[in-house]
Each structure stands twice: as C-alpha cells, then as structure tokens.
Symmetry: C2
Subunit: 388 residues, 2 copies
C-alpha cells in the first residue's frame, strides 16, 4: 500500500513562500511533516530527561531524530533490524530522521583515520575497532529503517585551511555518490524494513562561501530527496553562520527540504527560516533543560535561582505543556535542588514544547504572509537571552 | 465545609473482616482511603524515577508518603507552609502521610544524642546542628499540612538489649503523649493548613513480644486516629516479623487503621494483611525499579538480562500500566543498558502499578470473603522470587 502510494509521487511540496521563508510539507511513508519543523533529538532512541514517545505525541513532536553511530554501538543496528526497526523498537509511528554517524565519528570516537574508503576509529564505549564508510552508514540506517537517512560526510572542523576543506568536500561528494547508489540498492532488497527510505545530501565547505556554493551546485544536480547544510554551529559566530546561509541556500533547490543540522537557539532558527531553511534539530532544549534552564517568551529562566523558591506560577504563564499545566516554578526548583529526575523531566518537556510551539507559530506566520512581523516580535519578546 | 463534615465523625470504618484480614476505609479531609492500601513513597515530595503526581493518579495511587526529615532539611517546612502546604506544593489533592522524621534521624543523621527532650543531631546535607523532639516533629508536619502525621518515636535498633528496648519504649510513650498534646494545639490554631491533621501512634518493642504487647495496650488507650507498628523490617527475619505481628496486632484496636511501617515485599504484605494490617509503605517497588528489577505475577524480572534483548513482550502481559501499555522488554532493557532515565521511569511506574493493583486485588478478595484462596494463589504464582 505505502509502496504504491509513494511511487513517482512528488514528496516535498512547497506550499508557500514569504520572502525566502519556506512553508512546505514532506509526505513520507510514516506520515506528512509540516515545515518549518524542529526535530526532537533522541540520541539512543530515547529523548534524554525520561521523555518517552508517548510524551512526544503530547508535546507536538513531528519528527524524532536518532543517532546512527550511538545505535550502531548499542544496542546494535542488526538487533534493531531483527526487532523490526527503530519505529517498532521505540514505538513511534511518525517520521524518524537518522544522522549518518559521521558527526559522532568525528566528535566522539578516538584514534580515527580518514581514508578514501571511509573512516577507521575506536568505539567510545569499549574501544573496539570500527570501520564506517558511505556503504556502512547506509546499511546501518537501512537496518534502523528510519524515514530519512543522512549521507555520510566529513564535518569539516572549524577552522580548517582552504586546501583541507576543498579536498574534504570533494571526498564528501564522492562519498555522496556511493551513498546514493548503496541506498538505491538497499531500498530494492526484499528484507529491507523501509523500502522508501529517503536520502538527504549534506553541503559542506566550512566558512568558504565559494566552496560551499560550488558544492551546493554539485549535490543539487544529484536529485536527492533533501539537502542539509552541515558543518555550522561548530564554533563560528552567529553572524558567520548567517553569512554562509545567505550565500549557500540560494544554490540548494527550493522544491526540496532544506535542513540546517544541529542548529540552534530560537534566534538562530528564526533567522535561518528567514533564509529558506525548513528542517532543524538541536540538543539545546533538552540539554538546557537538564541544566535547569527553561525557555520562555520572556527569555531563558534559570530555575535553580533562589528568586523562584516561593514562585507559584508555572514556568510560563499560559503555556499548555505537561509541566506548566500542573506544576509551579517553586516545586520544579525544589526538585532540581534535591536532584530529583522529575525536575529535569518537567523542564525538558517544557523546552521541547516551547520549540515545537514556536515552529507552529512560524508556520502560521508564513501561511499568513507576516513572517517578518512575527520574527521581529518574537526576537524582541524573547530578548537577547537566547544565545544557547 | 471540610471542617464541619469532619467534626465528631467516625473516620475509620471497618467494612468487613475475612479471618483477621481487615477491609476498611478512612475518611479524611483529602478524600477516602480504601484499605488495605499501599502508600507510594515520595521522599522529598517526588517519587524517585521521574514520577509525578499526575503519574500517580494514572497508576491508582491512593496515598502519597513524604519524609518529614528530608523536607525539613530541604526545601524547609516553613517554605512549604508559606507556599500553602505540601498538597499545593507537589499538586496532589489526595491524602498524604508524613513520617515523624524519627526514622531518618536515627538512620541518616550523624552525631546524634538522644535525650528526654528529643534528639540532637547533624544534618546529612550540610552538617548543621538540628534538634528534633515530639513538638518539633508535630510542628514540622503541621507546617507540611499532611493528612496523617506520625508520632515521633525511637525506632529501636535490631538487635537491642531488653533493658535498652524497655527504656526506649517508655520514652517513646512519653513522647507520644507530648505529640498528642502538641498536635491538638496545632490543629486549633488559626493559621494551621490542615486543622484536621490525624495522628497515628507507633508501637515499638524490638523483637520482645511482651514489651510490644504492653506498649500496644498503653498506646491503644490513648485513642489516637490510627496505630502503626514500627521497628520491623530492620534486619530481623520474615518469620520473626510475622511472629511479632501475630503477638502484637490483636492488642491494637480493630476499629482503627493498622499500619506496618516500611514493609515490604509482596509476600510480606500478603502475610501482614492476613494478620490484620491495612496500611503499608515501602521503597522496594521504586528502588528495585531503579535497579532494573520489575515485579510480575511470574516473579521478579531483571530486565538487564541478555535474554530480553529481542523480547517484544511488555514487562507483564495483560498489564495496563503506562510502561506495559506501550513498551517492550527489549526497549526497556536497551534504555537501562544505555543509562537512559526513561528506562528507570518505566520500570518504577510498572512496579508501583503492580503494588497498587495487588492492593486492589486484596481488597476485592476480602470483600468476596476469599482472602485465603487469593493469598495462596498469589504467593504460588509469584513464586519465591519475592524476597525484596
């Protein structure tokens, strides 16, 4: 059924543009994603902070993102395939995006050697030797059966020389060709869990605009299901990030999803949407939640602060998240001080809800053709408190 | 309203007896408790394992138990009183029982000195000097505004000499008189949060039957709202515990709640109900959950075990708890191995639901006059796997 439905269909539909801001929808075998969208990060098939997929339903999550490298190492993608795939394993029937594992290989693993065939490295869990190249990454993501697979690339470190960046980006392009071929092969196999797995390519080029643009043109010609911009939010300034987006996004196809990987603060998202990006993911809402920081429309609150000890208001007045519907700042502050897991859980739920709700506001603003007003007002309301 | 309703009313009603097993109900200002009941332990006004009071509603919790000593130390009972009491603070409108703080003073605090007036000790958090006697304990519990306050006693260590036990129990009796007087005074004050706070006395006497019996007689004459048996499950064998219950419970009033403090395994509860106990509390279901151990009607499961890695069944088939309704043993095992808080949360929810459901089965069995059959069958089903 799903197979028939998907064949030859245009999967991404650009519904409306407001300036450069894109309002789209992506039809997948696991349901339709309304964009701009924020994907909620569940690294090892679980959102940190004791948040379950039942909770994700409640807080308006459209797409869950899991990390290929982590799942490969534990519990193992073969095990998840035997179980029936990641959707069945974590009980989530909506879209899942898996990253390629590349970013973790470059950031977590030790003793890594990059060769033309792929990367040799040691597991961050037990130190055993692992090899991962484009084919391995596709095979692991196919075993997981995610909705969207990401191409295996090298996330060029910042700063990098022009020469290193150029050579790396060219290898990433060769890897992308191998990813595309391997994904097509895997999608045609009988025992593949999701035969309609989509593949997004990734633009790299560090902070060199010309390399970014050239790479964007090359990968756009490969007619993939979507395009990501990688290698940002890795130490460069926000202004530099916006400059790269200004330069690069126009060279990625409008009629495909545009995904800015690992970004970012609410302000980053508002600015990137304004530059044509419509997929996002970031660990900030859950990581900040675990540190006691809550996002609100009046800036970020540090709930460990003594001024909240008798504050009977919710984290944000009028918020309809599972934390704000019931609990006070005073109670959550007490839980944090007492190191009770419940405190973290409540703030993480609130923060993810805040992000998911902001994305809905963004979609509504684009639908109504007043994105500029919305963006200006939201940035103003939330103040300068948004640098993480 | 509540004030009028409570005045002069018989608050505990013994609905039925089946052998010695009591089926009762306790009417309180925070609602009616059906007994036998298992109180879910929320030490610092939160159930460990990221379980909220919204979750407690869902898993059938009737009474939440919080620890007076912990709340006195952090966030402070004065703060909770200012906030409007523990019910408002943790958002729970059903009954709350607070312990006296005595047990924690004797088990957690250091440098303690027991005098006639009370106990001098140092905080386990920051080492500052604290004094707690009967009046202080009542005042703290009154500040918390719990439904049921426990008398301040000394939990006699096991083993203790006959002489020490006798002297300690006599002091506990003198302390109980002071508790009763102070509680009456506090309940009459204008700014008291719960003017109908109930007071349960505590029977002590270590493993000396005659001391236990004599003490039971003395405190029964004091016409308190309920009676607890303390100082059990502190190292003595299960058989010794049952022997003490056999000897002591008959000397406590049938027409009052009978509470066995800190007990215990499902088997312990089944045996104690059979000896006339109808209130219980224990950290086992949450503590075991945090160690990956799940209670089922086929014994306890260690979900860390490799045999569950592809097991797509819920923890217990047919169970309607939030974990079993959605998630598999394989997924929960993975979460435990990956040290994801969600794994602990799911098992703790299951274990508390298991206990709460068993209490409902026990009430039904007594209602139907077949408690013996039920007990025999439940012990058989669950095997010998229940020694914790």
């Amino acid at each position: 059924m799903a197979k028939e439905r998907m064949k030859g269909q245009i999967m991404y539909k650009l519904i409306k543009k407001d300036g450069k801001a894109k309002r789209g929808e992506l039809v997948t075998v696991h349901g339709t994603i309304q964009t701009p969208v924020f994907m909620n990060v569940g690294t090892v098939a679980a959102i940190k902070g004791a948040v379950s997929t039942v909770d994700l339903e409640e807080i308006g999550t459209q797409v869950q993102l899991s990390n290929t490298y982590h799942l490969h190492v534990r519990p193992g993608d073969e095990l998840i395939k035997k179980f029936g795939g990641l959707h069945k394993f974590m009980v989530w029937d909506k879209p899942i995006l898996t990253d390629s594992g590349g970013f973790q290989v470059f950031s977590l693993a030790s003793m890594r050697k990059i060769k033309e065939e792929g990367v040799y490295f040691k597991s961050h869990i037990d130190g055993h030797n692992i090899f991962m190249g484009p084919e391995e990454s596709m095979r692991i993501q196919s075993n997981l059966g995610s909705t969207i697979a990401m191409a295996f690339d090298e996330c060029v470190p910042n700063p990098s020389t022009r020469e290193y960046t150029m050579a790396s980006v060219q290898r990433t392009t060769r890897w992308l060709e191998r990813c595309k071929k391997e994904m097509a092969r895997l999608n045609s196999l009988d025992d593949t869990i999701n035969k309609h797995q989509l593949l997004f390519g990734i633009n790299q080029g560090s902070t060199y605009e010309d390399i970014r643009i050239e790479h964007a043109k090359v990968i756009s010609d490969m007619d993939l299901d979507g395009y990501a911009i990688g290698g940002l939010a890795v130490g460069e300034s926000h202004e530099e990030m916006y400059r790269i987006l200004d330069a690069t996004v126009p060279y990625l196809p409008d009629n495909k999803p545009t995904y800015l990987m690992g970004v970012g603060t609410p302000a980053n998202i508002l600015e990137a949407v304004d530059r044509g990006v419509d997929f996002f993911d970031c660990v900030y809402p859950s990581r900040n939640g675990r540190h006691g920081h809550a996002y609100t429309n009046k800036g970020k609150l540090n709930l460990m602060n003594a001024r909240f000890e008798l504050d009977d208001r919710p984290i944000e007045e009028g918020c309809n998240c599972p934390a704000c519907r019931t609990y006070s700042r005073a109670y959550i502050r007490h839980l944090l001080k007492a190191k009770e897991m419940l405190g973290l859980r409540l703030i993480v739920l609130h923060n993810l809800y805040f992000y998911n709700t902001m994305m809905k506001e963004i979609r509504d603003a684009i639908d109504n053709g007043n994105y500029q007003d919305y963006k200006k007002e939201k940035l103003l309301k939330t103040g300068g408190n948004y640098n993480e």
